[in-house]
């Protein structure tokens, strides 16, 4: 975690954080879709890891969005 993030909770509401979380989440979802449509079967452990990453990123995105609403509004 960088020094900027540690500087204050409000820093988490910056547009960069929201954008990076959003893009990361969409990229993982695209990978998941591609695997599903192409019928590529991964090791179960990798699939679980992918799903957990999506859930974590999705939760992080929602949290930073709520934080952004609370901080800026």
């Amino acid at each position: 975690m960088s020094g900027i993030l540690l500087a204050g909770v409000g820093a988490l509401a910056s547009y960069q954080i929201v954008l990076v979380t959003l893009v990361a989440c969409i990229v993982l979802l695209c990978v998941r879709t591609w695997l599903g449509v192409m019928g590529i079967v991964l090791f179960r452990r990798v699939t679980v890891l992918l799903n957990i990453s999506v859930i974590v990123l999705l939760t992080s995105f929602l949290l930073v969005v709520i934080l952004r609403f609370k901080t800026l509004a």
């Binding site: 547009y15 929201v18 954008l19 959003l22 989440c25 969409i26 979802l29 695209c30 998941r32 879709t33 591609w34 599903g36 449509v37 192409m38 019928g39 999506v54 999705l58 995105f61 929602l62 969005v65 952004r68 609403f69 800026l72 509004a73």
Partner: protein, 609 residues
């Protein structure tokens, strides 16, 4: 058989073959006569219908009768049905554009003004209007203006409603084909959609474009994925126990992961289409406030009813919508977050602001508003009968008809939420309503109602039912759709008066009007201010109108026929009230500087100006 008997038989066969198209062709000629004879300046309080003669309704009737003949013809002739649907669309949606001299609805002119701002500045105007925070549609409009070599978007406004309604036809036909209803019910559903869509969200606006995207997205999803057949149905446990078990599977992991939907499409084609859907979601997210969420709910309905195989699409659509709200639309919510979240959960106040507040005004306006509610209730009543009568493989149409109403829990959308929700539900409710007349007789999910026995004259009765229902809805739709046109449609004089006003004000100065039912904000957005003395939800007394206008110190004041009609129908002012305001202004030193038969422009005395 004698030669003339043969010839007579041929003539009969030929006339039966071409009866539907022939009736429609005669109907179109009568419709053109109605347009030719309509005089816009004679429009009464009932709006558009007050200037349409009997030829319009006979023409509409012939097209609907022709449609019913063609719909029940064996074999089904799709090209002729498309011709008949296009004829119906032209009659219902091109009449106002053809009869009214300039585009109606102030909002379409405001949107043209916003597009003009994009053309001139290449960026949105922040903190001016909420709509600038979702600039996708306006930006595309600016590209279109530049691409076609126009100086502004005014040329697109007048015929936009009919053009976009015709654009809706392609996705609607795909939805009808893949929705699970039989082919005839599909065509009837499309006709019912056009006959009941009085909502008038097809004017030059981002929401009209986004509605096209919405329909395309749902059409693509329904075309790609089909419901997997349930493992077992109606087995030893009994029909209802089995149905309850299957309903519980809506929330199973397999269903939520999209495993209950199947496709015959290749993986490359599916990936390309998913990419296209992702782009559509992105375009929706940055173009309109409500449509992205309607799409998310509708995709959720498709997933729950085994018609979507990739749940990631819903999550991506949600991420893009919320992401744009958080990042792109921050100018809108900074400082007033309550506009977005203030009405969450307040359903009764949302319904109140959407229904009760609209039921006001003169007797003729009240009639229009009440008939609008009745036509919508009528369609949903038929849809309910359709749900009871049809066999199906999945309940996708039912879910798609219902889920948009969940939007009302989150937003009242400035008192327009219910209208929009009905619009998102309409294509699917129309197909269900069509199933009330032409229900499916096969499918793994059995109908609730027992099947009616087909009598000897079943085809004639069905034809009659189609004519009564479609024609009934189409006639009522004509009346209510143009019901506000007496104050929402404008003459060339009114447009000239507004142009005159803009030509005689400087940046920072004010154009005064009683009510913004005029083609205002068509240029100089953000630099010339429009002041409306009756711009709020409560109306001042007639005496206050003049003094409020004077107090605002406008550089010019525009009085017009549309404002006069608005005052009589909505604000309850007496007939000729505008003359009273004009006399009041003249007594305070204002002078008439330009006038047309339908509009007057006044300027203040030099000391005020």
């Amino acid at each position: 058989m004698k030669p003339w008997d043969l010839a007579l038989r041929d003539v009969r066969r030929l006339s039966r073959d071409w009866l539907g198209s022939g009736l429609a062709a005669v109907g179109m000629v009568l419709w053109l006569c109605a347009i030719y004879r309509a005089n816009f300046l004679q429009m009464g309080p009932l709006g558009l219908v007050s200037i349409l003669g009997w030829t319009y309704f006979v023409g509409l009737g012939l097209v609907v009768v022709g449609f019913s003949f063609e719909l029940l013809h064996t074999p089904l002739r799709q090209k002729r049905l498309i011709f008949l649907i296009i004829a119906l669309v032209l009659i219902l949606y091109a009449t106002a554009s053809a009869v009214e001299p300039v585009a109606s609805l102030p909002d379409s002119w405001i949107h043209a003004g916003f597009v003009q701002y994009f053309v001139q500045h290449g960026r949105p105007l922040n903190s001016f209007d909420a709509r600038f925070s979702w600039p996708g549609g306006f930006s595309l409009g600016a590209v279109l203006v530049a691409f076609t070599g126009q100086v502004n978007a005014f040329g697109f406004l007048r015929w936009f409603p009919v053009a976009i309604e015709l654009a809706y036809l392609a996705p609607l036909l795909v939805i009808a084909k893949f929705s699970g209803v039989n082919r005839r019910a599909g065509w009837l559903g499309v006709a019912l959609y056009y006959s009941t869509n009085w909502i008038y969200q097809d004017y030059f606006s981002p929401q009209a474009l986004d509605y096209l995207f919405f329909l395309v997205a749902i059409a693509v999803v329904l075309a790609i994925w089909r419901p997997k057949r349930p493992a077992r149905l109606g087995a030893t446990r009994g029909y209802w126990l089995e149905r309850i078990r299957q309903s519980r599977e809506v929330l199973s992991i397999a269903r939520l992961e999209g495993h209950d939907a199947t496709t015959t499409w290749g993986s490359a084609a599916t990936l390309w289409l998913l990419g296209l859907l992702g782009l559509i979601c992105l375009a929706l997210a940055m173009s309109h406030q409500l449509t992205p969420y309607a799409l998310i709910l509708s995709l959720g309905a498709c997933l729950a009813t085994r018609r979507l195989g990739r749940p990631e699409l819903i999550v991506v659509a949600g991420l893009l919508a919320v992401g744009w709200l958080s990042l792109g639309a921050s100018n809108f919510w900074l400082g007033h977050l309550s506009v977005i979240f203030g009405s969450v959960g307040q359903i009764s106040s949302t319904i109140g602001s959407n229904v009760t507040s609209r039921v006001s005004g003169s007797v003729s306006h009240l009639m229009i508003v009440k008939v609008r509610m009745l036509i919508t209730a009528g369609l949903f009543f038929f849809a309910g009968i359709g749900v009871l009568r049809r066999h199906a493989d999945s309940r996708t149409l039912e879910a798609l008809s219902v889920v948009p109403f969940a939007l009302l829990v989150a937003q009242n959308y400035g008192g327009e939420g219910l209208l929009r929700v009905v619009l998102y539900s309409l294509p699917f409710a129309s197909l269900l309503a069509a199933s009330a007349i032409l229900p499916d007789t096969s499918g793994t999910i059995r109908a609730f109602a027992p099947r009616l026995r087909n009598g000897r004259r079943v085809r004639t009765l069905l034809r009659l039912a189609v004519v009564i229902v479609v024609l009934g809805f189409a006639v009522v739709s004509t009346i209510v759709r143009g019901g506000n046109d007496s104050y929402e449609a404008f003459s060339t004089g009114e447009l000239a008066a507004v142009n005159y006003a803009y030509a005689h004000v400087r940046p920072g100065q004010i154009i005064g009007v009683v009510t913004p039912f005029l083609p205002v904000e068509i240029r100089d957005v953000g630099s010339v201010i429009i002041y409306a003395s009756s711009g709020g939800s409560t109306f001042p007394t007639l005496k206050q109108e003049g003094s409020m206008l004077i107090k605002a110190k406008p550089a010019v004041i525009v009085l017009s026929q549309s404002q006069e009609a608005w005052g009589e129908l909505i604000a309850g002012y007496p007939k000729g009230w505008e003359a009273v305001v004009e006399v009041d202004l003249v007594q305070h030193g204002y002078r008439v500087v330009a006038s047309w038969p339908t509009a007057t422009v006044l300027e203040p005395p030099p000391s005020v100006g």
